[in-house]
């Protein structure tokens, strides 16, 4: 039997061992992440929401934390922050960040579904219900749609009926901490029953409208309605 007796052979054997061990560790680690993540997906597929729909919409895979997904950030300054509630309403108004925090707060665990096919289950958002803001602004009888307005002209649109559901929020906290900048600090919309681009980050206004106004992504080939359970990803 050949023995690695020279220093060079020993060094080469050691290098091969380190390379093999390193490669094995990477494969095992990545495999572990994949298996864990798939276990979450399998578990979610067995669950049903209160409204009877499956908890996980078709074509989605569960991951553990929200991904940033880009966008042009707005001003993160809480003291400069203003939220304008306006449009087809009887009583338009504006809120500072402090005034928003002083309103009745809702803390909800919501499932988030991104159009790129990842989902996060039970993300905890804290904020003010759009329905409460609407109650103060008094939408006109002719109002049918809500347009979320955000930094740099970004907009998204949902129907007024959907916007008034109790889980649609103007959120300033995520998972018990202030909303991170990558997720729209200081304030974002959360309309979690739609693909998540509808939940405008860096929210600056909520405009009630008599007419539908497709927003930034809706005018770039994405679905106007964006129902994850119908896989309405593209127009």
């Amino acid at each position: 039997m050949h023995k690695p007796n020279s220093e060079l052979e020993k060094a080469l054997a050691r290098r091969r061992f380190i390379q093999t061990a390193g490669a094995g560790t990477v494969v095992l680690a990545l495999g572990g992440v994949y298996v864990l993540s798939d276990a979450l997906t399998r578990e979610a597929r067995g669950q049903t929401r209160e409204d009877g729909r499956p908890r996980l919409p078709p074509g989605q895979r569960v991951i553990q934390a929200l991904r940033p997904m880009g966008g042009e950030p707005g001003d993160p300054s809480p003291s400069a922050y203003r939220l304008r509630i306006h449009g087809a309403v009887e009583a338009p108004f504006e809120l500072t960040f402090a005034e928003l925090l002083a309103l009745p707060q809702a803390e909800l665990a919501l499932d988030v579904h991104c159009v790129t096919s990842w989902s996060v289950l039970g993300a905890k958002f804290k904020g003010v219900r759009v329905a409460d803001l609407a109650a103060r602004a008094k939408p006109k009888a002719s109002a049918r749609y809500v347009i979320f307005e955000a930094a740099h002209g970004y907009t998204s649109n949902i129907s007024l009926r959907d916007a008034l559901k109790p889980h649609v929020l103007v959120a300033h906290q995520l998972d018990g901490a202030p909303l991170p900048r990558a997720h729209g600090a200081p304030v974002r919309a959360v309309a979690s029953d739609f693909y998540f681009w509808k939940s405008a980050k860096w929210l600056t206004g909520i405009r009630f409208s008599e007419h539908d106004e497709p927003g930034y992504w809706e005018t770039r080939g994405y679905s106007n309605h964006a129902d994850p359970w119908k896989e309405e990803r593209y127009a």
């Binding site: 880009g70 202030p178 990558a182």
Partner: protein, 201 residues
Amino acid sequence: MPDGASPEPARLMRKRKINFRPWLRALHRDVGYFAVGLTVVYATSGLAVNHLKDWDPNFHQVNRTHQLALPLPSDDEAAAKNALGALGVREEPREVYRASPTQLDVVFDQRTFHIDTTNGVVHEEGQAARPLLRAANWLHLNRGKRAWTYVADSYAVFLLFLALSGLFMIPGRKGLLGRGALVALLGAAVPILYVVLSGGP
């Protein structure tokens, strides 16, 4: 000759036939050179944005937790100054904001320190731009609007010209009469097959 005419003029006419290929090649070459910069911008950004679900192509995320010694000064400005000194931060903050009785936010252009004044835990979060990619993505997604729309439209026209002129640059069997046609059809089949096999929009 029955009509008394010489055969020379007809031959000359044939010789004078314009050969468009040298012009086409020259135009293709120069438009190609001109399009290099824009192609690098659009292709790089395209690769980056295609994988948006795996990474943020515009920013690195900053997410750290620090621990401060207690007690902190009761005055917000003094508490912020104390905290930044302890964390070795020399930048001047944009603002110090009392978000709640227990939370003090110290805001910078690229990051925010959320200080829990009861236990001294500081959550630092923010984003640091990837300068070149962010600019490329900004251009690609036409977030700047205005004149860039005309640049992007012109680039699209240039690409159409490069594609179509490329079809006619080589005569004969390696051109559209042979191999060229086959390869062009294969290329065109890719999107067509994808739409047919995937079910389309």
